[in-house]
Point group: C2
Chain length 334, copies 2
C-alpha cells in the first residue's frame, strides 16, 4: 500500500476560470477502515461541468465545497481493505469519493460496478451519474417519446452524447449541437444522430430552421447562452425545454443575460424545467438497467476521454471541459 | 338604429408605444343580419395588454391584425337584430366583435351573459377572458393548491387581481406586486391579499425575501423584466412560474434581456410554463361557474375601470395599460 494519499483541496474560490491558485495538493496517510467501513483506491475521477458551480459560495442544490476541503468528485476504484460486510477486497465500486487517491467509505451512495458490462471509466459516464442525468432529463423532465424532434446542446459531451443515443433508440429525430467538425462527424457517423450543427462554424438558428422546419419538441440544454435562445425561437407547440446545465456561463465574471426569447414559452404553450439528477436516486437502478441493456445490444456507445497524469493534473483537466476539448465523458486516471 | 358604424382600424404598425398614427377610424353602414346571423350593438370594449402583441407582424398564438383591418377586441353588447335561432333582440352577449359600434356574428365564440350575476363590464373582466386566464393559469398551469405561497405581478390589473382572489379562496398565501400605494392598499384592504409590494417604491427582491422567507411556490407573471428575475431568485423547491404576459417589454424598441436568474429553475427543480387561454375554451364553463359562484358568495370582487368616450378614445385608452394607470379591468364604454 502506498504510504501517502494525495488529495486535491480547494485553496481559494475562483473568479472566472479556475487556475493553479484555485487548488492545493497535500498528502495524508492512507486511511485504515474502521468497523463498517472499507477503503477504496481511486482509479478514475469524474470531471463534471457542475463542479464549477460547487466552487461558488452560493445557495444551490448542494452546499459549496468549503475552502480547505477535499474537492467533491465522483470516482471509481477498487476496494483494498474492508471491515464492511457487503464489500470485499477487489470489488470495483463507484461513489462520491472526492479527488484523492484513497478514500474510506461506509457504503452510502456507493454502487458496485460490473466490469464485464463495461470498463471502469464507463461507470462514471454512460453507466454513472452522466447516464442517469441523460436518462431522467430526457424521459422524465423532457417527456421525450417516439416521433419527437429532440435537440441537444453540448451534444458531444458526456451527458449530451448519451441523451442523443437514448433519444434515437426511443424513436426520436435527433439533432446535436457541438463545436467543430470532428465532434459533429462523430455524432452523425458513429452515434447515429440525424444531424449535427457545428456552432463554431454555422448559424445555429438558421440551421435549426432548416433541420427542424416544424419546430422542436424537446430541447435538452447543457450550454445556455445564445444557443438556448436559438432553440427557444424554434419551439413547437407544447415543447419541453430541459435545463440541465449552462456551461457557457459558468466562468463568466460579468452577469450573463438570460434567454431573451423566453416568451416563446407562451406563444408555444411550452415549458422550461430544471432538474437535479440526485432527486432520482431511488430510480438509478431502472436507468442503469436500461442503459446497460442498450450497451449490451450495441445500441449505445459509451465513450470516455481518459486523461493520464494523476492527481496533479486535476485542475488543468477540469478546464478542458470549459474549452470544449473533450469528446464524451472526461475522466482523470490516477 | 344609428346610421353609421364607426370602426377602429390598424393604420400602421407601431414601433414602441402606439400613437395617434397607429389607428384610423372610419364609418361603415350598420350591418343587417343575414340568415343565421345576428347584429350586436357594442356597449363595452375590452382593453388587453395582449393587443399590443397582435399589432406586430410576427408569428404568434394568433395571426397579427392586418394593416387596414378592424382592430381585434373582445366586447360585450346587446343583440339589436337577429336571424339566428339562438339569439333574440335584447340578449346581452360577449364575443370577439372588434373595436366597432356594431358587429354581425354567426354566434361562433359568442357567450350569452347573465346581467343578474354581474353587469356587462364584468363579463369582459372576472367573468370574461380575464377571469378565464386567471383561473386556468393559476390552477392548471401553476397547479396552485392550499398552503402554497403565490406571488402575482401586475396584481392590481385585470388578470392579477382575479389570480390573487382565486388563490386566497384556494387557501394560498398571496403576495401581490403592483405600482403605487393606492393599488397596494386595494389589494390588501379590499381584496384580502396577505401582502402587497409597491415595485415603484420598494425593492422587490428584498421584500420577497422578507414576505416569503421560505420561498415562492407559484409565481404568476404578467410583467416580465426585472420583477421576473426577482421572483426567480426566490423560488422554492418544485416551484411553478406561470408566464401569462410581459407587459413591461411590449413597447420596447430595443431587444429586451431575458430572465438572467433562469438557472434558479435548475437549483429548485422548478418549471416556467407559458399558456394561452384560448386552449381552454372547452372548459370556460367550468371556470365561469366557479368564478360566478365566488362572486355570488361575496368572495371575489370584480372591478372594472370604465373609460367613457366611445370609439374615438380607443387608442389613448389602450395606452393607459402601459402606463399602469388602471386598477382592475380596463374597458371602454361606447
Amino acid at each position: 500500500m502506498s504510504a501517502t494519499n494525495r488529495q486535491v483541496r480547494l485553496a481559494e474560490r475562483p473568479v472566472g476560470l479556475p487556475g493553479p491558485q484555485t487548488w492545493s495538493i497535500d498528502e495524508a496517510d492512507v486511511p485504515e477502515p474502521r468497523d463498517g467501513q472499507f477503503v477504496v483506491k481511486t482509479e478514475y475521477v469524474s470531471l463534471d461541468p457542475a463542479m464549477r458551480g460547487w466552487l461558488n459560495d452560493v445557495r444551490s442544490y448542494v452546499p459549496p465545497v468549503e475552502i480547505g476541503a477535499v474537492m467533491r468528485a465522483h470516482a471509481v476504484g477498487r476496494v483494498i481493505a474492508s471491515k464492511h460486510p457487503d464489500y470485499a477486497e477487489g470489488d470495483a465500486v463507484s461513489g462520491t469519493f472526492g479527488v484523492r487517491e484513497y478514500a474510506a467509505s461506509d457504503g452510502r451512495g456507493v454502487v458496485k460496478v460490473d466490469e464485464d458490462l463495461a470498463p471502469l471509466p464507463s461507470w462514471l459516464g454512460a453507466l454513472g451519474m452522466t447516464g442517469m442525468t441523460a436518462y431522467f432529463g430526457l424521459f422524465d423532465v423532457g417527456k421525450a417519446s417516439s416521433g419527437d424532434v429532440v435537440v441537444v446542446s453540448g451534444a458531444a459531451g458526456a451527458v449530451g452524447s448519451v441523451v442523443g443515443q437514448l433519444a434515437k433508440d426511443a424513436g426520436c429525430t435527433v439533432i446535436g449541437i457541438a463545436g467543430g467538425p470532428d465532434k459533429c462527424a462523430w455524432l452523425t457517423d458513429e452515434l447515429g444522430f440525424d444531424a449535427a450543427i457545428d456552432y463554431k462554424a454555422e448559424r445555429v438558428g438558421r440551421r435549426l430552421r432548416e433541420l427542424a422546419p416544424d419546430g422542436i419538441d424537446v430541447y435538452f440544454d447543457n450550454v445556455g447562452g445564445q444557443i438556448l435562445d436559438d432553440a427557444l425561437a424554434r419551439l413547437r407547440l407544447n415543447a419541453r425545454v430541459v435545463i440541465c446545465g449552462a456551461i457557457s456561463t459558468y466562468n463568466a465574471t460579468e452577469p450573463q443575460p438570460g434567454p431573451a426569447r423566453y416568451m416563446s414559452l407562451l406563444v408555444n404553450r411550452a415549458s422550461m424545467t430544471g432538474f437535479v439528477v440526485f432527486d432520482y436516486e431511488d430510480r438509478y437502478p431502472e436507468a442503469a438497467a436500461a442503459i446497460g441493456e442498450l450497451i449490451r445490444a450495441g445500441k449505445l456507445t459509451p465513450r470516455e476521454e481518459v486523461v493520464e497524469g494523476g492527481i496533479a493534473k486535476f485542475g488543468e483537466t477540469l478546464n478542458l471541459l470549459f474549452e470544449g476539448a473533450n469528446t464524451g465523458k472526461l475522466v482523470l486516471a490516477l
